[in-house]
Symmetry: C2
């Protein structure tokens, strides 16, 4: 790395070893025997990691506050504290059988940025804030990205406070119980820029041997529930031409959806992830099949085109097979396009630091997708082994964690300088 | 019907109304609110219907005995009681949500034959026996056709006595408890001929508007369990060409199996009745799929040919889709061919009685399939509504019940005459 000086502060360095120690140390809170983490939102384990976060950020000269949704803000003062902060963030909660990096890398990577600033004594123009968003995973309380959603005005505070988990326990009560319900109303908090470091949760960077993903946005996504109804019949005594086999019809549809996604190469994906078959007995011709459809592309027009395509083909298959078809759209998340200036800062940061990089679009949703509607936003991806995520075997390289945090540091400093000029 | 006299006794007539009353009356034992029957083997309901059976047969001049497996034999003396009996039978047990006719029609149809003989005072040359086989359904204790299987030497008595239901209750203990464990060893019982009247459990007779199915045998059948293993992956972040989607591969296989069965028209059938998908989450590319394969044809060579065909195509699909394939055969029931003389007697009986009829092969297994290995055997089918069976909505016409019993009566008398000459 070339040593630089000047107001961009690019002589600052991430302590990769300290970042890795933080990752391993916090993995104790909810750590599983298989090396993953079970740290569901607003549990005792969530409180433990929050306590650790507050204490550690304070030791780096930050003040920590939390808003009415329990979103944590570790603030490091700037030269002009009247300016809205340049922010970084992600989430410390996990899936029930989650890994050590999904979300956590973004928070602890941000912490390593604060550490670099603290150690050097460098003072940014804007205040810098590191944010831990409450309940990104949506595993205990649905939907996911709940409290960045409130922050961005997507959900109301009261709706979220009244959400209940499967045991009937209320979100608001648990937030009070663990001591992280703050007085500042969620969302009354202007932001100069937001950067989120995250593992890719996909196989592309690893396959292409790239270190940094310059994330330009989040794919548009639609979800559907499909019910195919035929007629139960005895597998031994019902001649083939007299069948109304819901599963054979569904099989043709599943194959067709895959072909439609391939036909919209290179970025489109189409998935049937869940299927239920009734009565599901080995000697009964299936009378009813239920399955989900998930289609995504960075371009909403392509998503719409895939929808039109699969609906037409599914209807044709249903007619040919003598079954009925019911398709219900259950989710529509339009594509998110991150801020060109922020994307450019991430790209420059990766290039200046000498990391191999590629532009890409996120498949999964992230808190950044909601933040993009209220502040200039971009994301930074690093590779994860086999693209595996939401899994206790989730794994990344220590060098890639450091690389991601280094790009985050540089991007934050560029935003501090770049957006200062404009504001 | 032409009135006839003479030793074939074809002037005897089935009392269709009495048969229907018997069907409705016994349907009380285990009757369900939806009009079906839940009468699992060796339960109190099974005892109740057995008690009714014993009492009713005795009122028609029969003596009733039961063997060591609880198979019931209602015997009407013939002119020469040293001859092995001409027999009829089926089963009074049902599925957990069974109908009023599957099995029951064969027993009560046989009872209506005994009633016709009793009322006319006609004496056959052979003794006539009506048999209620224990546990045809296999719903409480597996496998099905358990005690006709012991009778035919397929299973050992001790193995069956030691079978346990899901609650851990032993077959032998339950048989003792309901009072139907007899002293006669099961199977030491020569038989001149065996006829079984049954509902078709398929749609062919109804579709072709035929009253009688002349059943020539039971299809050959093989069952397999197929496991397809790919790789779990995020549905949003895994490009189509990088997927190893177990469900897409399975979908192609399910469609291929259907095509193979169609290609072996007109009698072959191939069914995937059960499928389980893992992890079965709508935003995860499926990593593992498990499904069953059921292939049948009256000709074992065709069954083998289908097996060879689907194994080859499944392997090709697995290779194309980048998944592994594991196929395990779990059941092999070779085709059963009934006795040509008995089949001919059923055909003549239907023709002489003026019923429309067609030759056919049974898809499901029946007690007759095991009896065929120890005695000349044939079956008689009557239509059931929509081919529906193993269902509380199982339904037949009163006229078809009478028709089936009338053909059974004529066939029994033909066997009494025909086999007498030979023996």
């Amino acid at each position: 790395m070339t040593k630089q000086t000047g107001k961009t502060g690019s002589n600052l360095r991430i302590d990769g070893q300290a970042l890795w120690v933080d990752l391993m140390e916090t993995a104790r809170f909810g750590g599983t025997p298989k090396g993953g983490i079970k740290r569901l939102t607003l549990t005792d384990e969530d409180r433990q990691v929050r306590d650790w976060f507050v204490k550690t950020c304070e030791s780096l000269g930050c003040t920590v506050s939390y808003d009415s949704m329990g979103n944590l803000f570790a603030r490091r003062p700037g030269q002009d504290d009247s300016l809205p902060p340049v922010t970084m963030g992600s989430h410390l909660d996990t899936q029930p059988t989650g890994g050590k990096y999904d979300g956590i890398l973004g928070v602890l990577g941000g912490l390593s940025v604060l550490r670099a600033l603290h150690r050097s004594g460098y003072t940014t123009r804007h205040p810098i804030e590191l944010i831990n968003w409450t309940n990104e995973e949506g595993a205990r309380f649905t939907p996911p990205m709940m409290c960045s959603g409130v922050f961005a005005g997507i959900f109301t505070e009261q709706d979220v406070l009244d959400k209940r988990d499967r045991a009937g326990i209320r979100f608001g009560d648990e937030l009070e119980r663990i001591g992280y319900r703050g007085s500042e109303p969620c969302g009354r908090h202007p932001v100069t820029a937001y950067f989120e470091l995250h593992i890719e949760q996909g196989p592309i960077l690893e396959a292409e041997e790239k270190t940094i993903g310059i994330v330009e946005g989040v794919q548009g996504m639609r979800w559907y529930e499909v019910t195919v109804r035929g007629k139960d019949a005895h597998a031994g005594s019902t001649p083939m031409p007299m069948r109304h086999d819901a599963l054979v019809a569904s099989a043709k549809m599943i194959e067709a959806l895959s072909q439609i996604a391939f036909a919209h190469a290179p970025t489109a994906v189409g998935t049937v992830g869940l299927i239920e078959n009734r009565p599901n007995s080995n000697n009964v011709v299936p009378g009813e099949t239920f399955f989900t459809v998930d289609i995504r592309d960075p371009n909403d027009t392509v998503v719409l085109d895939m929808e039109t395509g699969f609906k037409k083909i599914f209807a044709d298959i249903a007619e040919t097979c003598g079954v009925t078809l019911d398709i219900v759209q259950i989710w529509d998340a339009p594509a998110v396009h991150f801020d060109p200036a922020c994307i450019g800062m991430v790209a420059e940061a990766a290039s200046e630091a000498g990391y191999s990089a590629r532009h890409m679009v996120s498949g999964p949703g992230h808190d950044a997708a909601y933040l993009a509607s209220v502040a200039p936003t971009a994301m930074i991806f690093v590779p994860c082994k086999d693209g595996l995520s939401h899994n206790e075997e989730e794994s990344i390289l220590e060098a890639d964690a450091e690389a991601g945090a280094s790009v985050l540091l540089r991007a934050v400093l560029k935003a501090d300088a770049g957006f200062s000029k404009d504001s």
